[in-house]
């Protein structure tokens, strides 16, 4: 067992603790970026001028009328940028564009004494546009050959040969929608020039270091003149990995130009119309099976709808391609990937980061082919699960592949699946207008940033003279419970009660050059960095304690704030006393920690290597009931077994699994991004740009029965205290819901009906699917439904 994963006997990690800010959350005392405004004097408020065109050249921009509006202080335009007019790391996102690239693109920003003044000022700005041709759908972009970034190619074996000889070959085309993050807290930044002349930006960002970098390059100053702090976020989900930078830069630019604090908080409409979303994809596939239902070949072309700029589309595409296998052994694979350029928001990271988009393709293949092959969908899936010693299409061994089967059989047992299947069959036979179905789907998700360099993290741990401990790390808190876990890691490593450790907000002047809190890696990376820092301090204090206790420093242990020998029999020393001693001996009581994930290698051009430290596994069983009159459905029961290694914080992990699952269910069934694809005057406008039109799961979408268990004895060697990442993988357990809906729709038709189901599977989509299935049987009598 590695020292990183070894867990001491009385560890604070592993305790089911509530979120460290829970008491602040429930009392409204937890502060978010925009809550700082009322605590800041003389704040100016920012409002954007947004393009009413989907693609247009800006031929004139007249800001003077805005200054006639009472309370308008400043209009920010491209002329004001002292540094680089760019908001992205790919240098293809002008902060102030000369060409509107999507409907809602911010052209310039108005600063006002009040938000109302800024709004009215923005209305007064006069912009002349010369409309240009626009590409709104991914299909239009494909037809026009409009692509961006580097296309990728992933190959194993001989797809053509194996398709030619396969017993069964199917092909299909499938386009599926993206997803709006809809973090409850919209983008927000508050910037000011501090007493030292430095730029201080408070931002709701998952990536403070990159926000700092972009602010610095827009202002034309070195990074050390900019500090970014993130108190906490009201949700991120990937939507605050790249997207906050430009907004922070606007606030910072305004603050430097006016000398006053500037607050930029998007309202919901602005947030939805301006910020990037999960990529929708277009896919084409051919799949070959043998007579036993084993996949022998998969050939797929994935086209990601990248929107107007590159953003994170390349790594999202790479992860999609690396997850097209989901949990299945496919000997021959060919995947071509490319990124369409369309006149939409620039699509970006979203929980799963392309993984879901790759996996949905193979799940769709299996779901559609199962009836044609004569299998139940779940049985077909189980047959194809990876086994020990299998490797992925990109050449990484699937370590712990047996956990898929463990999770599967546990879900099957816990969920009483065999009995319920029989019950469902009876129910369906008795109910012509309502059908139920149960589907099981697995998840295998690779953990680490595909880009190896991002797999590093830093931490700063202070022990003060009174023995209290303050920890800082580079990760951000967006609700996922990272800070809770980090407190537990520090308390465990130092052998202290949790209350002795406090965590300070994430700041770039404490820990520099951090990676985004993303890729589910927050606890793995930052936890290891904190552990490293705490171990340095612990080792120094062991020296001091060894001297005091008259034992070898190597034998000193810390438990609950007491330093003692290998047993509790001998002398012991209180932590506070020890710290005081150490100070007087001039021992350094603080340390910077660092961690980099070992053993990763990735050839991005060849799409080969071992990009992931490990895989997270899980299996879900979902039961739905579909109403044949409307296509409306309920999620009756969900059973999940998920592998989080040895959990650092079980209550947090269960929360991540449940929340991820419901969010995934939202993507697959309910959340419906609709752009105006017509040639009318609103072409390219997002029609679902509000909570009233873009529906998130609410209580009515929660499974009526929801059982989540963590896979037991799941120690992960080589990860902090034996744990595994949990942020993203559970989202993809929601495929079980989509597949159950497909099966329930098919149940309206004769046995063996293969159902094509649109994504999202809204009630309307399910209705058309079941209507198609039903139309292949004689119109049944309108029997009493036995409701």
């Amino acid at each position: 067992m590695s020292s990183l994963s070894e867990r001491p006997q009385q560890a604070v990690v592993g305790l089911p603790l509530p979120h460290e800010s829970a008491a602040l959350h429930v009392t409204g005392k937890a502060l978010y970026t925009d809550d700082l405004v009322v605590r800041t004097r003389d704040v100016l408020h920012a409002w954007p001028v947004q393009s009413p065109h989907t693609h247009a050249r800006i031929t004139d921009l007249r800001v003077k009328p805005a200054y006639d509006v009472p309370g308008v202080v400043r209009v920010l335009t491209g002329d004001d940028v002292p540094g680089v007019n760019d908001a992205g790391v790919k240098h293809d996102e002008p902060l102030f564009p000369t060409e509107a690239m999507f409907h809602g693109h911010a052209i310039c920003w108005v600063l006002g004494e009040t938000l109302e003044a800024a709004r009215l000022g923005a209305l007064a700005v006069e912009v002349e546009y010369e409309p240009l041709e626009s590409l709104v759908t991914v299909r239009e972009a494909i037809d026009a050959g409009s692509f961006q970034g580097t296309g990728r190619h992933l190959v194993r074996g001989d797809v053509e040969d194996s398709l030619a000889t396969a017993a069964h070959v199917f092909e299909g085309e499938f386009e599926f929608a993206g997803q709006e993050h809809f973090y409850l807290e919209t983008h927000a930044s508050v910037a000011l020039v501090d007493e030292g002349g430095q730029i201080f930006v408070q931002s709701s960002t998952q990536h403070p270091s990159e926000t700092q970098e972009i602010v610095a390059h827009v202002l034309g100053v070195p990074s050390h003149e900019v500090t970014v702090q993130c108190l906490r976020m009201g949700g991120g989900f990937g939507g605050k990995e790249m997207q906050p930078h430009g907004f922070a830069a606007i606030a910072a630019l305004g603050a430097t130009l006016t000398g006053r604090p500037v607050r930029l908080r998007l309202n919901r409409t602005q947030d939805i119309t301006m910020s990037g979303k999960r990529h929708g994809f277009h896919s084409e596939w051919r799949a070959g099976f043998d007579d036993d239902g084993h996949l022998v070949a998969l050939d797929a072309t994935l086209t990601a709808d990248g929107g107007w700029s590159l953003d994170l589309s390349e790594p999202v595409l790479a992860r999609a391609m690396c997850h097209i296998d989901n949990s299945y052994w496919i000997p021959n694979v060919r995947v071509d990937g490319r990124i369409a350029k369309t006149n939409k928001t620039s699509q970006t990271a979203f929980r799963g980061f392309g993984g879901p988009q790759g996996m949905i393709v193979v799940e769709d293949v299996l779901g559609r082919c199962a009836p044609l092959l004569g299998y139940d969908g779940s049985e077909l899936r189980r047959r194809n699960l990876y086994r020990l010693n299998d490797t992925t299409p990109y050449g990484q061994p699937v370590r712990h592949a047996d956990r898929l089967e463990s999770c599967w059989s546990q879900v099957s047992d816990n969920g009483d699946v065999v009995r319920r299947r029989a019950e469902i069959e009876r129910f369906n036979a008795e109910h012509p207008h309502r059908k139920r179905a149960l589907a099981m789907t697995p998840v295998k998700f690779g953990i680490s940033f595909n880009l190896t360099a991002f797999n590093q993290a830093g931490a700063l741990v202070h022990v003060y003279k009174d023995g209290s401990v303050l920890i800082n790390h580079g990760g951000t808190e967006m609700g996922q419970g990272l800070h809770t876990k980090m407190l537990q890691v520090a308390a465990t490593t130092l052998g202290l009660p949790l209350a002795r450790v406090r965590l300070a907000p994430t700041r770039t002047d404490k820990v520099p050059n951090t990676s985004a809190t993303a890729a589910s890696s927050g606890a793995d990376l930052n936890g290891a960095a904190i552990k490293n820092a705490c171990e340095q301090i612990r080792e120094r204090l062991q020296q001091v304690a060894g001297g005091r206790l008259g034992i070898s420093p190597r034998d000193v242990r810390f438990t609950e704030g007491i330093a003692h020998g290998l047993t509790f029999d001998g002398d012991s020393l209180r932590w506070e006393e020890l710290v005081d001693d150490a100070y007087h001996q001039r021992v350094q009581l603080w340390a910077a920690g660092f961690y980099r994930t070992e053993g990763l290698h990735w050839d991005a051009n060849a799409m080969r290597g071992e990009p992931f430290k490990y895989f997270a596994y899980g299996v879900a069983a979902a039961e739905v009931e579909v109403d044949g009159f409307t296509g409306a459905y309920t999620l009756r029961r969900v059973d999940i077994v998920h592998d989080v290694g040895d959990s650092l914080s079980p209550l947090i992990d269960i929360g991540q699994i449940e929340g991820g699952f419901v969010q995934g269910t939202g993507w697959l069934t309910l959340e419906d991004l609709r752009w105006d694809e017509s040639d009318g005057p609103h072409r390219g406008r997002l029609a679902t740009q509000a909570a009233s039109t873009y529906k998130l799961p609410s209580f009515s979408e929660m499974p009526e029965v929801f059982n989540v268990q963590l896979l037991e004895k799941a120690h992960e060697d080589g990860a902090v205290y034996g744990s595994k990442a949990v942020g993203e993988p559970p989202l993809m357990l929601a495929f079980s819901v989509r597949e159950a809906l497909r099966q329930a729709a098919a149940a309206f038709g004769p046995a063996g009906t293969s159902v094509e189901l649109a994504s999202p599977a809204t009630p309307e989509a399910v209705y058309w699917a079941l209507d198609q299935a039903r139309s292949s049987v004689l119109v049944e009598r309108l029997e009493p439904s036995g409701v």
Partner: protein, 480 residues
């Protein structure tokens, strides 16, 4: 800013009386609270869909003098709370002394990012304090806890993180308020009476007249006035579309608009009663409406939205019109010129246009008795809780000796106005109530109206849903 008021309007927030002060009349209660440092309540959507801004207001109860009523602060003009008592998440408890609701949510992992949490806390607290919630009643299903907690009370609150299970568990774990709970005790005394309010700031005015006569006078003089009750519709216009009416007139607490009588010949429902109040007052006596209420927006909206408002905005996708059309309801319209009664079936004249003159106010909704024996309300939407209808259908049918004697079918979402499915009704009346009749009528019904394609549903789905709805109605009826 120049402010003239009859007396300094103020709100009692968490027990402290705070002068509303120099804010525009369009400032909503949420922004006002936040500007005063009470940043617990959040803006998540600014249109009453997410509930992050939920706060408690002491409102008249039907079963106790006062009920703590959760509303969306983002939709309310702050002036509309003049004289009222408001409790926010900060006022319920502190980190050192959590309220039982806060305690349950905190320890069960009911908060992740925490942004929606103060709103959930307030909505849950309202249900915790609901005077008719009995912890001993046996009715318990997946939407009702063993402690009498109705999950629909949280239907207007969105959480993007948790997946809701721990929040539900927290809700179902709540006991009864402690004997010394001050907010529970507060219910036994009446809420503050409505204050007559007049605020004028920067040329815009907010008025809450003291009587209906005063309102009608004002309307006669200024027919362009924007009437508000719960502001659940107008608030969206203000927040999302930047509408700034120069004169706002609040009518929601006028006694004359809050009548309620049941029988023997009719039910009279005051236009300014909220959907929640009507639901409690009817107590299931109009099954069609009882079926509609849980599907009408969310509890947070129903706590503010009035029946008169839903008819006044005349939205083609409002949920009340199809139900009330099926019930053959009439409206009493009042103006300084007098009152008149208009059948609802004649009321809608075009897209958001009605027979109501600019100086008229809906005073009462009248539903004739007896009710038809077979009724149903079908709502087609993407989401079961808190969604806007793609199609909504209200049915009221009388079958005697196997023959359809009367049939009224109200439709929403399939035309520029709510309408009666007259052709379908004709295809049913006088014919035997059989599958054959219903199938033929369903084909007629599928051709009713002129449904559109939009982001909620395709035109073809809307049409299909009309026909399917009648088949479903028959299927359910046969079963009953």
């Amino acid at each position: 800013m120049s402010t003239t008021t009859t007396q300094a309007p103020s709100i009692t927030v968490n027990g402290e009386q705070i002068t509303i002060g120099d804010v525009t009349v369009h400032t909503n209660a949420l922004d006002w609270l936040r500007d005063r440092g009470l940043t617990g309540a959040k803006e998540g959507c600014a249109e009453g869909e997410c509930g992050a801004c939920s706060v408690l207001v002491a409102r008249p109860g039907t079963d106790a003098p006062t009920e703590w009523t959760a509303v969306n602060a983002c939709l309310l003009p702050v002036g509309s709370l003049d004289g009222q008592e408001v409790i926010t998440s900060e006022g319920l408890g502190s980190p050192a002394e959590l309220h039982p609701v806060q305690q349950e949510i905190a320890v069960r992992g009911g908060s992740q990012c925490g942004y929606c949490t103060p709103g959930f806390v307030c909505s849950m607290a309202a249900e915790f304090y609901r005077s008719t919630r009995t912890t001993s009643n046996g009715h318990c299903d997946h939407e009702h806890g063993p402690n009498g907690f109705d999950l629909h009370s949280l239907s207007g609150n969105l959480c993007r993180c948790t997946g809701y299970r721990p929040i539900r568990d927290a809700a179902y774990a709540l006991g009864e308020p402690a004997v010394d709970d001050a907010l529970a005790a507060r219910r036994s005394a009446p809420p503050p009476p409505p204050a007559a309010t007049a605020i004028a700031v920067d040329g815009a005015e907010f008025h809450r007249p003291a009587s209906l006569a005063d309102v009608l006078e004002l309307l006669a003089e200024s027919p362009e006035a924007q009437i508000v009750a719960g502001s659940t519709d107008v608030g969206v216009e203000v927040n999302i579309r930047g509408v700034r009416a120069p004169l706002i007139v609040a009518v929601d607490r006028l006694d004359e608009l809050r009548e309620f009588t049941f029988g023997p010949d009719e039910v009279r429902i005051g236009a300014a009663l909220t959907l929640s109040e009507i639901e409690r007052l009817l107590a299931g006596r109009v099954p069609l409406l009882a079926q509609m209420f849980p599907q009408f927006a969310s509890r947070l909206i129903r706590n503010g939205a009035t029946i008169g408002g839903n008819l006044g905005t005349a939205s083609p996708i409002g949920d009340a019109p199809p139900a009330l059309l099926a019930l053959d309801a009439s409206l009493v319209l009042a103006s300084r010129r007098g009152e008149r009664v208009v059948p609802l079936a004649d009321y809608f004249t075009g897209y958001r246009e009605t027979l109501k003159a600019a100086d008229e106010l809906i005073r009462t909704i009248v539903v004739p008795l007896p009710l038809e024996p077979l009724t149903a309300f079908h709502k087609i939407a993407k989401r079961r809780f808190d969604d806007i209808s793609s199609v909504a259908i209200g049915y009221a049918v009388d079958v005697e000796d196997g023959v359809v004697r009367r049939a009224r079918i109200g439709l929403g979402g399939v035309a520029a106005t709510p309408l009666r499915a007259v052709a379908t009704e004709q295809a049913l009346i006088g014919r035997p109530w059989t599958e054959r009749t219903v199938r033929e009528a369903a084909a007629v019904m599928a051709a009713e109206g002129t449904p559109m394609d939009d982001h909620r549903a395709s035109a073809s789905y809307r049409s299909a849903m009309l026909g399917q709805s009648l088949l479903r109605f028959y299927s359910e009826g046969v079963d009953a």
